[in-house]
């Protein structure tokens, strides 16, 4: 093997099994690497954990939204600058329990609000394919770490696309499991009814390996049901008999879709057919209202979830004589502009006189979108869409237009609203409309709730056929 950093999770585990690699060496290969992408917010002197177990020795980067006892955890926010959690998130605990070791905490948009990682209080993250471009968000640091050779796998969270979209922008695999698969305990809440933890990996099989360890009911999260049937390792080599649906609202009719993305989608559809799938156009008639419903529901829940940052029990406080001054100044100083915007939006949507028009209506639109998926899955085993209408955009290009930034989630938000699992895999490279090097394009496969095994199987077969090199960015494209 040329470099330990080439190893996927599965390959590394096999190497350890074959005694070609000592478990501790694997994490050591990543420790102390220069982080020119700004992917990490914190790295320990020695990797944490790394015991025996099904993931014994697997190094993992963890989005800074997961609490780890006595490890700095900021959620990308100034307001948690010196916060040391008194407990560890269940997902991390399960990984550590399976023998994984934590390489560090990765950068992210503040409280997971953003699609470019430009809302972090601790600086931008750069896309390893073109360091003038964003890695996507909100789990930008995790995506960049995996694509940039700084970790073989990473944890992220996805509320409206925060795993899938950065995975697409960085050319790696990103899985958002069914809502309820993995415990949210210890995962700092943005929008509780949408937030879901998931892995960034270089292969679909690696995503399955991590999901198998992390999923399952947790007594600390009543909404975590786990995947009752479990998750099998993907093994499919073709797609014969698989009915693939392409929802036109998120594909041919999607607004603002770049030509390069369109081409990759067309190539992927052709590939599916050549693998034996039947591909048909389908419809999610209400999906185009996803962004509207999402930008009411998520900010509304966030306005309550972020109210606890009040300078009383933890976090940064701005001292003041009066209680209300203390609250208002603390929160004004602690939160960045996007977080304030969403708190305002959510507070407004829930306020007296507006609830029915905004929150009540959005919840009903959510019902309609969930039904659209149920209908689509009556005739299709998986749905195929682009993950994002665009490739990674230049840093700073959308920061002045919140709505344009929100549209980056257009293809990923409907699945979050419906709670169904979705995975982004690299579909190929495409030129950006504004020039520069070719950039990865993600394609998204979507399955019915708790249908992870079949979804990962299909993604695995397609991934093999596409043959994208997820190590290309950090190796300078040498072997691509």
């Amino acid at each position: 093997m040329s470099d330990v950093r080439d190893l996927s999770v599965a390959a590394g585990l096999a190497a350890i099994e074959a005694r070609d690699l000592a478990a501790a060496e694997w994490a050591d290969a990543y420790a102390g690497l220069p982080d020119e992408l700004g992917a990490y917010l914190w790295r320990p002197d020695e990797p944490i954990g790394g015991e025996e177990g099904p993931l014994g020795g697997v190094p993992v980067a963890v989005k800074d939204i997961f609490c780890i006892e006595d490890v700095p955890t900021t959620a990308g926010s100034r307001i948690l600058e010196n916060y040391l959690p008194p407990y560890t998130a269940t997902a991390v605990e399960r990984l550590l329990g399976a023998g994984a070791s934590v390489l560090g905490k990765t950068n992210m948009d503040e409280f997971a609000m953003g699609s470019s990682n430009e809302n972090s209080a601790y600086g931008d993250v750069r896309n390893p394919w073109d360091t003038d471009r964003v890695p996507g968000g909100s789990s930008g640091g995790s995506a960049a770490a995996v694509a940039g050779g700084l970790a073989p796998c990473a944890l992220g969270t996805d509320t409206g696309g925060s795993i899938r979209q950065p995975a697409a922008f960085c050319g790696v695999v990103g899985l958002k499991p069914t809502y309820g698969s993995i415990s949210r305990s210890g995962m700092i809440a943005f929008a509780s009814s949408l937030d879901q933890c998931g892995p960034f990996t270089r292969t679909v099989a690696d995503a399955a390996l991590l999901l198998r360890v992390m999923q399952g009911a947790d007594p600390r999260d009543t909404t975590s049901t786990g995947i009752a049937a479990g998750v099998e390792m993907p093994s499919r080599e073709d797609l014969s008999g698989v009915r693939v649906g392409v929802p036109r609202e998120l594909a041919s009719e999607a607004e603002g879709m770049e030509d390069g993305v369109r081409e990759v989608m067309e190539r992927t559809i052709a590939l599916c057919e050549s693998l034996g799938a039947t591909v048909a156009e389908t419809s999610l008639p209400n999906a185009r209202y996803g962004i509207s419903a999402y930008y009411v529901i998520a900010p509304a829940e966030a306005s309550a979830n972020l109210a606890r940052y009040d300078g009383v029990r933890f976090g940064e406080r701005v001292a003041a004589e009066g209680l209300d001054d203390m609250y208002e100044l603390t929160r004004a100083a602690g939160f960045g502009p996007e977080v304030k915007r969403r708190i305002m939006l959510g507070t407004y949507a829930l306020s007296s006189g507006y609830y029915d028009a905004y929150y009540g209506r959005a919840q009903r639109v959510r019902t309609l979108i969930a039904r659209d998926f149920e209908n689509a899955f009556a005739d299709h085993d998986v749905l195929l869409t682009p993950t994002s209408p665009t490739v990674a955009f230049p840093l700073g290009s959308r920061t002045d237009d919140p709505l344009a930034m929100y549209m980056a989630d257009y293809c990923t938000v409907p699945m979050s609203l419906a709670g169904v699992p979705a995975i982004s895999i690299p579909g190929g490279l495409a030129a950006a409309p504004d020039g520069g090097p070719e950039l990865p394009v993600g394609v998204q496969l979507v399955g019915p709730a708790f249908g992870e095994t079949a979804l990962l199987d299909a993604a695995h077969a397609l991934e093999s056929a596409i043959g994208f090199d997820t190590n290309a960015a950090w190796r300078g494209g040498a072997d691509a």
Binding site: N82, Y83, L84, P86, Y179, G180, S193, P219, T222, T223, T225, Y289, S292, A293, Y295, V296, S303, A307, D310, G311, V312, R313, F314, G315, E316, R317, A320, E321, G322, L323, D324, D325, M326, E328, R331, A332, F335, K340, R341, M344, L345, T347, Y348, S351, Y358, G360, R361, A362, Q363, R364, V365, R366, T367, L368, A370, P402, L403, Y406, A418, G419
Partner: protein
């Protein structure tokens, strides 16, 4: 359209102190986002039940068994202003 007065009212509810420039910008940005959000009004939602959560389960509870609490030092470790084993705050009535 969300005007200056509404912005200030909502900021007060959310305990966010905004300066004048932020109020202006918030008014414009929230208005533009809400304009987009209001496209939902095109949909007929008559008789559609709201979805608050997508988990199809109920009665998930825990037994009334005591679990370990945090040692007080740990509970207070992150406190900006601990005093007398408690969390000190400016008085609500001051």
């Amino acid at each position: 359209m969300i005007d200056r007065k509404q912005v200030l009212h909502v900021a007060r509810l959310a305990r966010l102190r905004l300066d004048d420039e932020e109020v202006e910008r918030m008014s414009a940005e929230l208005s533009s986002i809400l304009d987009h959000v209001e496209t939902m009004a095109e949909l007929d939602i008559e008789g559609v039940e709201p979805t608050s959560r997508v988990v199809d389960a109920e009665n998930v509870m825990r037994a009334d068994d005591v679990a370990a609490s945090l040692p007080r030092d740990a509970a207070l470790a992150n406190a900006p202003d601990p005093a007398s084993g408690s969390f000190r705050v400016p008085s609500p009535q001051a």
